[in-house]
Amino acid sequence: MTVARFWRETPRRYNLGGNRCSACTTVYFPPRAVCPTCQKHRQSLGKMEPFTLSGDGEVFSFTLVHEAAEGFEMQVPYVLALIKTPEGPLLTGQIVDISLEEVHIGMRVRAAFRKLREDGRAGVIHYGYKFSPARENGGREAVASPVSQEALARAAARAQGTART
């Protein structure tokens, strides 16, 4: 991907900048030049106003991807989801900091800022939104599960070569 092609979308990919039809108040992400649902959509030309999504959302559907998209190979398997935002738009994105057993339709998530991919070893690094489990007091869920005593014991046992998980 060329530098300019990614760069021009950074307000959207970094900060969820969408827009809203001033006639019918429907919110769009990514922003659109014309409102497709508004009855008077020809009149909405030039009347779309900037609108930034809050970053909140809930899982509408999800999958565990084993055969990665280009640039995502190191993260396999990763959770990809459709996220329903309270503002309306549905977004496609990864859910990070989660194990598959924890994901379910309806679970609350919040936008996170992560690396999307790199243009090879020497190229530009692309950043943007992903999602992670939401928490009650705003922000994102704590490091999902505490290190359990069992897990530490397993790690110790592995270290001594006495057990295999």
Binding site: E73, M74, G120, A142, V147
Partner: protein, 353 residues
């Protein structure tokens, strides 16, 4: 003492989710990892996901800080990110962070590098700019995704994490009464341009480097502030492992209780430029109005920056419960095998690349 009152308006910390233990590392290299961990006082260290780096860690920490402090990003006049693991050799971390928190375009931004004390250097820069009224808010970030060469002693501690401080003149949750530095040319740890992993002087990193600089700087800070160790409720040292700060703390006359919240490395590892700032963030998570805090950072090469800080009553109404507190990072984490760690840290070379 500062003529113009400056201090911390808000703060946030971020540590990636994964953890690896010294035992797990040791079994790969035929070393007694448990003994190594005990010697370093490191129980586990954090490991970033493959999609995390200093830019994403800095952004997450700053986003928490801006929300907690209800700060309009456009009021930020400067963002300085201190790190020794900036994702680009040339191209600033700070511009991505500035864009990602919505602070662009009317601000200045730059990356700092001074081994592990680039973050505290950024605090000092922001203090000066805020005090001189060049800017309303300055953001100082210390963050790293540090790497030790496979099998090297550093591998047992080098981890990832960071914290962001918003420095300003008003609405302070902590006043910075004074700052002092101690700087010499001492080559204890370095990384040459183009090298993948840092090199170090082994035991030379101890007495002539860390202990001398932190000790001298801490002592001088207290002299200037006319304080004694007993005047502080909390003390935070740079913490390349869990042992060094305990030793220097003891020799300066601080108790375990004073060091309790400032010491985070045993549970997350050495976050380099993030270490002292995350320790300070943990202190602020627990502090009461009126608490006095001594912070002494250290960066190889070498130098120390010290800060004499007084927490204000405003901390009680400040929204420090928004987002994650440091304790959650210390308690939590998902254990990784060395194999997954090696993959996540890019230590495995893929075919063709």
């Amino acid at each position: 003492m500062m003529e113009q009152t400056v201090g911390i308006v808000s703060y946030g910390a971020y540590v990636p989710r994964y953890r690896i233990t010294p035992q797990e590392i040791g079994q790969v290299w035929g070393t007694d990892g448990a003994a190594m961990g005990k010697g370093l006082n490191v129980v586990r260290k954090s490991v970033p996901s493959p999609d995390e780096d200093t830019i994403t860690i800095s952004t997450e920490a700053l986003r928490i800080a801006l929300t907690r402090g209800r700060i309009n990003p456009h009021d930020i006049g400067a963002i300085y990110v201190g790190s020794e693991s900036h994702p680009y050799a040339v191209k600033p971390t700070a511009t991505v962070v500035a864009q990602a928190v919505g602070a662009t375009p009317y601000l200045t931004a730059a990356d700092f590098e001074f081994a592990c004390k680039a973050g505290t250097a950024a605090i000092q820069t922001c203090m000066g700019m805020v005090a001189s009224r060049m800017i309303t808010y300055g953001v100082a970030i210390g963050a790293d995704t540090s790497q030790g060469a496979p099998g090297d002693a550093l591998e047992y501690s080098a981890s990832a994490g960071g914290a962001a401080l918003v420095i300003g003149r008003e609405n302070l949750i902590a006043e910075i009464n004074a700052t002092e530095s101690f700087t010499t040319d001492t080559p204890d740890f370095w990384r040459r341009e183009g090298q993948r992993y840092p090199s170090h002087g082994g035991r030379f990193t101890g007495e002539p480097a860390y202990f001398r600089h932190v000790g001298e700087c801490g002592r001088r800070m207290m002299e200037l502030a006319q304080t004694e160790p007993k005047d502080y409720q909390h003390v935070v040292f740079h913490q390349p492992n869990g042992k060094f700060p305990q030793r220097i703390g003891k020799s300066l006359g601080f108790s375990e209780a004073q060091m309790k919240y400032g010491l985070v490395t045993p549970w997350i590892g050495n976050t380099y430029s993030g270490a002292a700032l995350i320790g300070l963030a943990n202190v602020l998570d627990h502090a009461k109005g009126g608490d006095r805090v001594l912070v002494v950072g250290y960066g190889s090469g070498a130098g120390s920056d010290a800060f004499d800080v007084t927490v204000t009553d405003r901390i009680e109404s400040y929204d420090r419960n928004h987002g994650r507190q440091v304790q959650e990072f210390l308690d939590g984490g998902v254990p990784l095998s060395y194999a997954m760690y090696a993959k996540y840290r890019g230590k495995i070379h893929l075919g063709g690349s």
